[in-house]
């Protein structure tokens, strides 16, 4: 089987999956991408095993992204660049697997590709009270009524140009208009349970040299960006409350200061970042926090292994993979009581949940976990079992292999 993966960045969603398909089944996996990610960086084995072709992008996109009315035009220009690169390289394959959102353009490949095109259906933005507009506790952004009504244009065009689609979770699939559901299956892409696994808690040395010894408790927060959609400010509020009650807790945050989703800069009143704004606004004890920035998977695994409690106060949106990673490490996770979290966590059995905005409840639950860790250990163990059984690479890669083979051969889903 010869698969061409298309994405804006590498490895992103497809790198590890392709490596597994190549290793386990001898598939030839090639990539058409714009850039290699800085974090996580592609592993050496990925670079040795997979063929990566870079698409020159002209013109380069401005820092901070395009204004919302121009997003579609930027995407079309990207589509043209991909089509030119595709034609130039002559990348024939049995199957094309492409990210179907703004990040990987397939619109103009339909006519050039004879193989079926599979769309990775990451997310469809609803018009209100979800993702970008869920934080009703923050001042509304001026663009909120407009952006979600037009930002799905690339996704819709991509869906029209694909033969099939898949989403990693049911929540993500359900975010799409119902009319497209028959075209979209749910296949999770796999957590590396060799890397993220239950390990004895040892000493954690933070990048700034700080050592976290066995007597200290660690509460973790991980997101691509420390932003409102991932509830960073809510985390800070909960952390501040915990800090007042316990002096032995360190709050370790991994993620950049950049806001990737939404309009945090609209309501931070000139603060350098949402992180600074949240810390200052909530008068958080800065000395109890450790900010790691973006970290490589190995470092993240070490942090999560040492975590006593992982908080995931997200709005309803694509679940962070760190949420799965924390569970894989047998950590006790408190997640927001929202659909993408409830799809994974069985409250009280594989994790805990609390209403997103009820920071008192979050703090109460967190203090309970920190006070009586042994009572909650079974939850962490059950979480790790769940991830191993349903969300690990071993569980997911064969499933995706079958799916890809089925689509490549043109067989219907139930055959």
């Amino acid at each position: 089987m010869d698969v061409l993966f298309i994405h804006q960045a590498f490895p992103a969603q497809f790198g590890r999956l392709a490596l597994e398909l190549a290793r386990r089944y001898g598939w030839r996996c090639r990539f058409l991408v714009e850039s290699l990610s800085a974090c996580p960086t592609p592993s050496r084995s990925m670079l040795e095993t997979l063929e990566i072709h870079q698409v020159p992008v002209d013109p380069p996109r401005p820092r901070g992204g395009l204004p919302w009315p121009q997003v579609f035009g930027g995407w079309l220009e990207q589509c043209s660049s991909y089509r030119s690169a595709f034609d130039r390289l002559g990348l024939r394959s049995d199957l094309v697997v492409a990210h179907g959102g703004q990040g990987a353009p397939i619109a103009f490949l339909r006519e050039a590709v004879s193989a079926p095109i599979v769309n990775y259906c990451e997310y469809y933005f609803p018009t209100r009270f979800a993702d970008l507009t869920y934080r009703v506790d923050l001042p509304p952004a001026e663009v909120a009524p407009f952006y979600p009504r037009c930002i799905n244009a690339p996704t819709l065009i991509a869906l029209q140009n694909a033969d099939a689609g898949y989403s990693p979770t049911r929540f993500q699939r359900d975010s799409f208009p119902e009319r497209y559901h028959p075209k979209i299956e749910v296949h999770f892409d796999g957590i590396d349970t060799e890397l993220y696994r239950p390990q004895p808690a040892g000493e954690l040395i933070l990048p700034d040299g700080r050592r976290i010894g066995p007597g200290e408790r660690v509460v973790t927060f991980v997101a691509r960006g420390l932003e409102s959609m991932r509830g960073f400010d809510l985390f800070v509020a909960v952390a501040s409350r915990i800090a007042r009650e316990r002096s032995d807790v360190v709050f370790v945050c991994a993620g950049s200061e950049i806001t990737y989703y939404g309009w945090d800069n609209h309501h931070t009143g000139g603060a350098s970042s949402f992180r600074s704004w949240a810390m200052e606004r909530l008068d958080a004890p800065a000395d109890r926090f450790a900010f790691l920035g973006h970290i490589e998977p190995e470092a993240l695994a070490a942090v999560l292994s040492r975590s006593d409690l992982h908080l995931f106060p997200t709005v309803p949106f694509v679940p962070s993979w760190s949420f799965f990673n924390a569970m894989a490490c047998a950590r006790v996770v408190i997640g927001a009581e929202v659909a993408p979290v409830l799809e994974v966590i069985d409250p009280g059995r594989t994790g805990l949940v609390a209403p997103l905005f009820d920071t008192d409840r979050w703090a109460e639950l967190a203090l309970e976990v920190l006070a009586r860790p042994s009572e909650f250990e079974p939850i962490g163990r059950a979480a790790a079992d769940l991830i191993r059984e349903r969300y690990s690479l071993d569980a997911c890669v064969p499933d995706l292999r079958d799916y890809f083979e089925r689509v490549a051969s043109g067989r219907p889903p139930d055959s």
């Binding site: 009315p69 579609f72 035009g73 103009f108 009504r149 819709l156 140009n161 208009p177």
Partner: protein, 428 residues
């Protein structure tokens, strides 16, 4: 409860556009109150009678790339978003209300996309014209071997606004089954298919007596005994087959000394679909390539008022509809309503309207000789022309009578308003 009569918000880039006549009918016959939001307005002699008397025209400005006459193909959606935003901005500033129901048409530009940000509960019926296929229909078939790559890409992406509208909670409306069938299968079942109809009263006149009446068109007298062959399009462009008409007219003028060919419409090509002639005066170019056999008998009357259109259609002896496959022109329906015999070039949208031999004649699209012979036969046979014209008029009364067509639409609007209405609409 919904207000009685209903308060209607119409949004279309230009007034009266396509929805102006619909709004006018709803105001005059159903007592609706209507705000018509548009960016531009057409000449006053095109405005419907209720303008200013229940139908209030409100203009909105547009910013950004929408101010430019044309934009690179990649910025088409951005342009449309500027229109949608412009409409929202003026809605928000003027806050008309309460709004019971919204009727919109993006026509490739701004649309009702952001109306829900102002009136989230008002049901929206959106008129959808045309879903582009990358290499089929309109001019794509003709240009098959010389389609510029960027043009194909534009066609592949030009449906973005329609897709966004379709996902914006609207009830999609289109005017023919053929148009509905162009949309992706995921959306087809949602469509309300209903032609918006023709005002038959405008086309009633004395019964046709071939070549025997004293006739005048736009003040020009038609010589007694002459046969009038007509062609109508907003601009005599390639999409509507002006080149085909010119070739036919030359043949007819050469073959018959009693034929006068009349062309209504003028100006440069405004549709981006004709990538080779966009912005150019296709009529002039076509006349240069295929000069009139007898300039005195080819009357190029330019853009005219709706009354002149009706005048021509009431008197024409043969109406020629040589359009490439595209949304059927209003003039086709008006010709039928006027009882004019129509000769049309074969295409799926035409076959949905005309029954060859009974309500019109259909000629193969790629056979100019056959078209000429059919036209000459018709011109030589007044009885057949009469019979076909009467068949067309009968179909028009049955299927395309505005009173009947828009009654169905009004029923839909009433029903939507009743079903969706709960406390006052207007504002967030």
């Amino acid at each position: 409860m919904a207000q009685d009569p209903l308060c209607l918000l119409c949004v279309e880039p230009r007034f009266p556009g396509r929805l102006g006549a619909v709004a006018d009918w709803l105001v005059r016959t159903r007592g609706y109150r209507c705000w018509f939001y548009c960016n531009g307005v057409g000449p006053r002699d095109h405005w419907p009678p209720s303008t200013g008397r229940g139908l209030e025209v409100v203009r909105f400005e547009v910013g950004g790339v929408a101010r430019e006459r044309s934009v690179p193909w990649t910025r088409s959606l951005e342009r449309g978003l500027c229109y949608a935003y412009g409409a929202w901005e003026v809605l928000e500033a003027r806050r008309p209300g309460p709004i019971d129901v919204v009727l919109g048409r993006s026509h490739g530009l701004g649309s009702t996309l952001f109306v829900p940000a102002f009136a989230p509960r008002a049901p929206i019926v959106n008129l959808f014209d045309y879903y582009y296929l990358p290499r089929s229909y309109d001019l794509a078939d003709d240009l098959a071997h010389r389609l510029p790559p960027d043009y194909v890409r534009w066609r592949q992406s030009a449906n973005a606004m329609d897709l966004l509208d379709l996902e914006n909670g609207v009830l999609p409306w289109t005017t023919s089954e053929w148009q509905r069938g162009l949309f992706p299968p995921e959306y087809r079942d949602d469509f309300f298919v209903q032609h918006d109809g023709v005002d038959l009263r405008r086309f009633r006149g004395e019964p046709r007596r071939a070549g025997s009446r004293s006739r005048a068109i736009a003040g020009r007298s038609v010589p007694e005994g002459a046969l009038v062959v007509s062609f109508i399009a907003p601009e005599p462009d390639r999409l509507r087959g002006f080149d085909r008409f010119l070739s036919l007219s030359n043949r007819l003028i050469r073959e018959r000394a009693d034929v006068i060919c009349v062309v209504l419409g003028g100006g440069p090509v405004r549709r981006g679909l004709d990538v080779e002639h966009f912005g150019a005066d296709f009529g002039t170019l076509a006349l240069r390539d295929d000069p009139p056999a007898d300039p005195a008998r080819l009357w190029m009357l330019g853009a005219v008022s709706p009354e002149t259109v009706a005048e021509l259609l009431r008197t024409t002896d043969l109406h020629v509809y040589p359009s490439r496959p595209f949304v059927p022109s209003r003039s086709l329906f008006e010709a039928m309503a006027a009882g004019a015999p129509v000769l049309a070039w074969d295409a799926e949208p035409v076959r949905e309207v005309l029954d060859d031999g009974r309500t019109g004649r259909i000629t193969p699209a790629d056979d100019p000789e056959r078209a000429a012979l059919l036209a000459l036969d018709l011109l030589a046979d007044a009885d057949t022309r009469q019979a076909i014209g009467e068949g067309a008029a009968a179909v028009s009364r049955e299927r395309f009578d505005r009173d009947r067509c828009l009654s169905r639409l009004a029923g839909l609007l009433d029903d939507l308003a009743k079903r969706s209405y709960s406390p006052a609409i207007g504002g967030r």
